[in-house]
Symmetry: C2
Subunit: 520 residues, 2 copies
C-alpha cells in the first residue's frame, strides 16, 4: 500500500463528502483530488522528476496536505521544513537534502531570501499567498495552468524513501529522518487502531504539519474518509473556535497546547461537546495538569509516545486506561505513556541490550515496519541509532510487570549530581505542583563540587509570586533533598520547538560554553 | 511481524489475564504460553523440522488454538482439515500437501484409519482426547513429557508460507490456498480496525476453526489481549449458553447459524446483553432475516466479505451503516457487503479488467498484502486466479457510485435460462419471504427448451405447509416471471459445508450427470 491509495479510496468511496475546511476554503474529496492532480502536474511542469527531493515551508492549511499528496504522486521525496528555523539552518537542510524545489508561504519568503545565495541545489520556488512576485511561481496560478496528473508518476516500492524529516535536533547538526512508504502506511494502520478512527471523525490539524505528530493524519484520516480541519497557527482561542464551529471530534496536540486551552479564560463559553478524543504526545504531561485537562475538556484522552524515527507511534495509554478508577494502579498508569501498540515491538533495555527489570531505568528501543530507513547521508549516526533492527530512542524509562512504560527523562536531560541520577521531569513535576508555577524546566549546569547541579528555570503565573526559597521549601516536601534545585532563573517564557517541546538545550548550552558535557 | 509476536505481546502485557475458556479448561496467557511451548517441543520431539507440513483435524477447542501457535513456533506449515471430509478426500489432501504429522481428535480416528493405507508422507499421529491408544502419541502426555520450546525454531520471513487451507471446493479437486505470514498478519490488522477490537473483548469461536472465517481470531484476539471462548460444535443452545455464561462480546458466524440462533424457542430466557457485535459472512443473508436478527439479538452487526484466498477480509458494511434509518439508500446498502476495507483494494470488473459502471454486473477482484501466495502445486489454477496481482474471486457483483458492493451470485450458481441471467440468491430471497420457508436453495438444472431451468429446493418450517403452486404464486408477486422456479424439491434439510454454506453443487450435480455445464 502507498500514500496515493489512501486518497484514491477516499475519492472513490467518499467523493462528495466534505474533506477540507481551511479558512474560507471548503473542498469535497473529489474537488481535493482535482487540486492535488493539478499541483502534481505543476510540479512536473516545474521540472520535478521521480526521485527528486522537494521541500515545503508553510503554516497549517489545505495546501500543506495537498503538497504531501502531490509530491508523492509526482514521485518526489518531500522534506517538510520547520518554519521557525533560522536562515542558516534552512540553507543547511536544503543543501544537505539536495532539495530542487521549495513550496513556501509568502510570509516566509524573507527566510528564503536570506539564504538564497547559499543554496546549491534549489532551482525553483513556488509561493503560496501574498502579493504576486514575478521572480516566483504562484501556487494557485500554477494549479490553474497545470494539466492534472491523474496517474502516479513512479512505480513506488514499499521501502522507497518518501519523506525526509529534519529533526529539530537540540544538539549537533540537523538529521534527516528517512521514512519509507511502508513506514508511514504501517503507522497509519496503527493510528487507526489506537484512535479507533471512523469515517465520521473530524480531525483538527492543530499541531504544526511539518512535524509528523500531525502530518500522519493527512493520509490516515483521508484513508478513512474523515474530514480535515486546519488551524493555521496554534492559539487557544483559535482551537476552541474551530472545535465549536466544525464539530471537531479528534485532535493530537502537545501538553503545552493543552495547558493553554484549559487555561483560556473563556473556555466555559465554547461548546466543545463534539470532542470525543484528544491524543497528546511529544512530551510527558504533569499529572495534576492532565487530570485537570480531562475534567475541563470532558472528553477521552490518550497518551501516545513515539518519535519521527518511528513514523511516529510506538506506545499508547488507551482512553479507557486514563479514566480515573481511584486505584493505586491507575495513578501509576497515568504517569506512563502506556504500552507497545499492536504492530510495534517496544522494550526497555540496559546498555547490553537485555531487558531491564520492573522499576529499573533503561533505554526505550523499538522495532517494527514503522522504523525509519536511517538518517540521510549519516551512516555513522544511523548505525548508532539502528542496532539489530531496533531503534534506540535515547529516552530513559522504566516499565512495570504489565509492560507499562514510564519515561523518566531524555538521556541528555538527566542530571548527574554527586553520582546520583536526577531525572529533570521528576523535579519539574514537583515545581508544577506549586500554584504560582505556569511552566518549569530543570537542567544540569556545571558545578565545581558535584559535577552537575540541579538548576530550575521557572515561569510564574500572571499576578502570582514565588521566590527561590519558597520553591525550594515546596520541593523539599515532595522530592529527595539531592533532587531539589540548587539555583533558579525566573523568565517571562520558555523557548519551545515548533512542535511545542521546551528547548532545554537552548537553556542549558550557555552554562556549558567551553566545557564538554558527557552524556551516555 | 509474525504470528508468534502476537502471542508474545499478550503474554508480556496480559500474562495474568484469562485467555482461554474451553469446556472446563481455563487458562491465563502465561499458562497458555507454557502449553504452546510444550506442544512445539513435542512437535520437535516427534521429528517436525522447520519447513515441514503438518495437519490438524479437531473440533473447536483450546488445543486447536494451541496447534496454530505451536506449529508456527516449530517452524512448520499448518494445514487445518475440514472434519466433514470423506476418507478419500482426507488422503488426497494429506498426500498432496506432503503432510508428515497429523493432530487429530480421537473422535475422528475412524477417518484416519480408513485412509491410513493410502498415505504416502504421513509419519506420525498425535491424538487429542479419547482412550489412550498405544499406536499413537497422546496430546496431553506429549505436552507433559516435552521441554517447552521458548524460541521460534525458524527465522520466518514475511512471505514464507505458514498456513495451507484446502478449500472445500464445490467442484474439481481441493485446492490448497497458500497463506504467508504477511497475509495473516495484515488481515489481523484489518480485522482489528473493522471490528474495533479492544483488550476487553471476549470472542466466541463459534464457526469451525479449520476455516479462516474463525481461525484469524486466534492470533488477532490474542494480539489485543482479548479472551477466547470455544464452542466445540455449533448449536443454537450451546451458542446462547456460552454468550450468557462468559459474557461474550464478539463473534463471527454465518447466516445459517444466525438463523438457528434467532429461531431458538427459548432465546428470550438467555441474557445476551454482553454481545456488542456479531460479524457475519461466507454467504449473503436474506434481508428479512437480517432485520429480524438485529431486532432479536439487539446488538451491532457487521457484514464482512472475503475468501480464504484473501486471508480473508476484503469488504465490510460497518455496524453504523446497518442501523435502520428508514431511507431508500439504507435499504440498498443493507443488501450489500459494504465497501473495501482500509488496506485492501477491491474492484468489480468486466472480463477485460475494466471497472463496471454502477449497476452493471462484474467479477469482484481484490489486491493487497492479504492476497494469497497461490494454490499449492497448482501453478495453472494460480495463474487464472491471480492476474496482475489481483485475486479473481469468481463472485458476481454490482457496485454503486459510492463503492458499495452487492454480490449477485457465485458465477457458477447463476442460472442462464432462455438467454436471461437469473441470480439464484434473488430467487432465494423471494422464497425466504414466504412464512413457511425455513431454508431454500435455487439451482440450474438442464432444460431441453431453455438450456437451463430455475429449480428450487425448499425446507419447510416444522408444522407449516406450502406446495409448489403456493410458492410459485408467492414468487410471481415478487420477481419477474422468468426468474420464478419452474420445479421444486422439498427436503427435510439442506447439505452444508463445514463453514455453514449450502452446498449447491451437491444439489446440482445429480441433475447434470453425463452432461457438461458451461460456466464462465
Amino acid at each position: 500500500m502507498f500514500i496515493h491509495q489512501t486518497l484514491q479510496r477516499a475519492v472513490r468511496l467518499f467523493g462528495n463528502k466534505e474533506a477540507i475546511v481551511s479558512g474560507d476554503v471548503r473542498l469535497t474529496y473529489t474537488a481535493l483530488e482535482d487540486r492535488i492532480g493539478r499541483l502534481a502536474g505543476a510540479l512536473a511542469d516545474a521540472g520535478v522528476r521521480p526521485g527528486d527531493h522537494i521541500a515545503v515551508m508553510m503554516l497549517n492549511c489545505h495546501r500543506y496536505l495537498e503538497t504531501y499528496f502531490a509530491a508523492e504522486r509526482a514521485g518526489a521525496v518531500l522534506a517538510p521544513l520547520n518554519h521557525r528555523l533560522a536562515p542558516a539552518e534552512v540553507s543547511y537542510i536544503l543543501n544537505d537534502g539536495g532539495i530542487t524545489l521549495l513550496l513556501i508561504d509568502a510570509a516566509f519568503l524573507p527566510v528564503y531570501t536570506a539564504c538564497a545565495a547559499d543554496l546549491t541545489t534549489l532551482r525553483k520556488v513556488i509561493v503560496a499567498g501574498g502579493e504576486r512576485d514575478p521572480r516566483f511561481t504562484d501556487y494557485e496560478q500554477a494549479l490553474m495552468a497545470a494539466t492534472p496528473m491523474t496517474e502516479v508518476a513512479r512505480a513506488w516500492q514499499e521501502d522507497d524513501l518518501v519523506h525526509l524529516y529534519y529533526t529539530s535536533g537540540t544538539t549537533g547538526r540537523a538529521k534527516g529522518v528517512m521514512l519509507s512508504q511502508k513506514n508511514v502506511i504501517s503507522n497509519a494502520k496503527h493510528m487507526i487502531i489506537n484512535l479507533r478512527l471512523v469515517p465520521d471523525d473530524v480531525f483538527l490539524h492543530a499541531a504544526p504539519m511539518f512535524h509528523l505528530a500531525d502530518a500522519w493524519a493527512c493520509w490516515t484520516v483521508a484513508w478513512l474518509g474523515g474530514k480535515h480541519v486546519f488551524l493555521r497557527e496554534f492559539s487557544a482561542a483559535g482551537f476552541l473556535n474551530l472545535v465549536q464551529r466544525e464539530r471537531v471530534s479528534l485532535t493530537l496536540i502537545v501538553p503545552t497546547m493543552i495547558n493553554l486551552v484549559i487555561n483560556h479564560p473563556d473556555i466555559g463559553s465554547f461548546d466543545i461537546g463534539s470532542l470525543r478524543l484528544v491524543a497528546f504526545g511529544a512530551s510527558p504531561m504533569p499529572v495534576d495538569r492532565l487530570v485537570q485537562a480531562m475534567q475541563v475538556l470532558g472528553c477521552g484522552f490518550t497518551h501516545m509516545y513515539g518519535m519521527t524515527e518511528t513514523a511516529p507511534l510506538a506506545t499508547a495509554l488507551a482512553p479507557e486506561e486514563m479514566v480515573p478508577d481511584g486505584t493505586e494502579a491507575y495513578a501509576r498508569r497515568l504517569l506512563s505513556c502506556g504500552r507497545e501498540v499492536v504492530g510495534v515491538q517496544v522494550r526497555v533495555v540496559r546498555d547490553d541490550g537485555t531487558d531491564v527489570a520492573p522499576g529499573e531505568v533503561g533505554e526505550i528501543v523499538m522495532r517494527g515496519p514503522n522504523v525509519m530507513l536511517g538518517y540521510w547521508n549519516q551512516p555513522d549516526t544511523t548505525a548508532v541509532a539502528l542496532r539489530h533492527g531496533w531503534m534506540h530512542s535515547g529516552d530513559l524509562a522504566t516499565w512495570d510487570a504489565d509492560g507499562y512504560i514510564t519515561i523518566v527523562d531524555r538521556a541528555k536531560d538527566m542530571i548527574i549530581t554527586g553520582g546520583e541520577n536526577v531525572y529533570s521531569t521528576e523535579v519539574e513535576d514537583a515545581l508544577y505542583a506549586h500554584p504560582a508555577v505556569l511552566e518549569a524546566a530543570v537542567i544540569a549546569v556545571p558545578d565545581e563540587r558535584w559535577g552537575e547541579r540541579v538548576h530550575a528555570i521557572v515561569v510564574l503565573r500572571e499576578g502570582q509570586s514565588a521566590d527561590a526559597d519558597a520553591l525550594t521549601a515546596h520541593c523539599r516536601s515532595r522530592i529527595a533533598g539531592y533532587k531539589v534545585p540548587r539555583s533558579y532563573d525566573f523568565l517571562p517564557s520558555l523557548p519551545k520547538t515548533g512542535s511545542g517541546k521546551i528547548q532545554k538545550a537552548l537553556l542549558r548550552d550557555p552554562y556549558w560554553q567551553g566545557r564538554e558535557r558527557r552524556v551516555n
